[in-house]
Subunit: 336 residues, 2 copies
């Protein structure tokens, strides 16, 4: 299996993605197609003693600026490392793509260059968040600020298949994020999406209120990109705020510092549950080939995990399963 | 000052609101107009030895069912304790109203019976949430699931005046909840609201991302009711989830239990910051007279605090200040 990597996205590029790719190559037995400024990549690998035995390099020296308007940027920077990575993916030069470029640019480049899966209306960015009873997948995280009900129905399908094939959750419970439990609650978008999701080919369990997301109760939480982004960012912000309050409490005086030592194991568990970099990156679902968006601040370990995730995305045949499910849905609709 | 109270809203009625009212009457020197089933209220006060020396009773034995559709319920239950309380408020029989009925019914009854402040497009439900650097007011919490930009501009005005006059925050910083920092981020609603808020007569500091809400950075966070409800409920849910994780960590074994004793003071601080019942209720801003919505699960202490809040709402002349600010805005618009 060959993973295409944009080595010039993210805050720590190119060293962190190169080092992460080398770790992943040796640990998971994958080949890497490293895209970016070739001379610079080779220099960094030499200086940093990064093993390139499973690397192939593709020279694309242009770097897309982070601040640019996504659609404009993708059109103006046709030869950037990001756009080139997507073109190589479309040409079948690799099985999946990993990058840490800006979210907007990755979504646009994936959609315009690598293209959507046949029948998918919009690609959705997803991530797995912790809950008291385990974890749940949240999507869309912001690729689509405005959504139509049919898009939410497809998000549920894609999330359900990903949780099954990659995360090993059998018959994932899919819920719609809403501000009430009743099917008449919410905006028009949610009311219509609820109606359509009732007959979708996955285990739709109805609405979930944001209060219940961190408690648990669903395996896939579906939202438009606006709402999903609010949920993701507030979860991150509150996690960080509670962590700081907790730390302040434990470092107050000598007695509390002693108590902190006793709690060491528990505190590490606590931290690990809040550490989203452990999970790898965010899958962009609905593109013709697997794409993983790594955090902008990813270190080598996070990139390694993102490659592991890309491999699982391919191994699980998530896209083939989505395509077959869509074909079945269309056949059923035609039969009705 | 006389506070009108619906004694038959909430899970613990009528005892908790009656007891809370008596505590408030003695502590803050206010009179109470107690609305509901008079015989039952008198019985509960006798049995529970509740001091009724500052109470006046108004008999309204009908209780509005919690599950009913709000607009239908208000129209069908014209003589319910809730609707009667709002009518008494409109008639000037009291200075403010406190109740713990269902949010939807309270908003509809307030709007239809007590009426909006002249010039206000929609009433908004608000609450104060904790942040690392202090606290911030969040509005709207769900009274208006769909909003127009001008409504958000008014929410900012009302929140700013409330924080100044009731919470004592001078020149409150007002921010718009958005999924990016730029004025072009968000849905059409946010882009247009941002443009209008730039010239509004308060200290508009631009967008705030949900990640930064619990950290601090604004005194008033403005959102449509959908988004505000998601932020409120997720904050509550994550607070509860972190509390449970924390408790599990501290009660793991004898050593951690010993550590918990050392942390006692810190843990109490932590709990208090998460205890929204301390704050009282949620002001419904934009109604002709002050209305406080108490939590459905309020106990006597929470009702006492809700009355304290209603008194501060009146004492601060929040409504008079809002009315004057609106008049100024209209004059300026006419001058342009």
């Amino acid at each position: 299996m060959k993973i295409i990597m944009d080595m010039f996205g993210g805050d720590n590029s190119p060293e962190a993605p190169l080092r992460g790719a080398a770790l992943a190559a040796s640990e998971y037995g994958v080949d890497i197609l490293a895209v970016g400024d070739k001379a610079k990549m080779e220099q960094v690998c030499r200086d940093g003693k990064i093993d390139t035995s499973r690397f192939e390099f593709c020279d694309a020296p242009l770097v897309m600026p982070v601040c640019a308007e996504p659609t404009e940027a993708v059109k103006s920077y046709k030869d950037s490392s990001l756009t080139t990575s997507m073109r190589l993916l479309a040409e079948g030069r690799g099985d999946a793509m990993v990058g840490a470029g800006s979210t907007g640019a990755m979504v646009v480049a994936a959609t315009l260059v690598a293209k959507r899966l046949h029948g998918i209306k919009r690609a959705a960015l997803a991530t797995v968040l912790p809950s008291l009873s385990g974890q749940y997948m949240l999507l869309d995280l912001g690729a689509n600020v405005e959504c139509r009900p049919e898009m939410l129905v497809q998000f549920g399908l894609m999330g359900s298949i990903y949780m099954d094939k990659v995360m090993g959750v059998k018959d994932p419970k899919v819920a719609l994020i809403n501000i009430g439990a009743d099917e008449t609650n919410g905006r028009e978008l949610q009311v219509e999406a609820y109606r359509l999701m009732k007959t979708a080919p996955y285990d739709f369990i109805g609405n979930i209120e944001p209060r219940d997301l961190p408690i648990g109760g669903c395996d896939v939480a579906v939202a438009d990109g606006w709402t999903g982004n609010v949920v993701l960012k507030l979860t991150e912000g509150l996690g960080s705020a509670f962590g700081k309050m907790f730390k302040a409490m434990l470092t107050k005086n000598a007695m509390t510092k002693l108590a902190a030592l006793t709690l060491h194991g528990g505190i590490n568990d606590f931290k690990k549950r809040l550490d989203y970099t452990e999970a790898g990156g965010a899958p962009l679902l609905g593109i013709a080939k697997p794409v993983i968006k790594a955090h902008g601040s990813s270190n080598a370990k996070a990139f390694k995990n993102a490659v592991r995730q890309a491999k699982a995305f391919v191994d699980g045949d998530v896209n083939g399963t989505i395509a077959r499910a869509l074909a079945d849905m269309n056949t059923e609709e035609a039969d009705e």
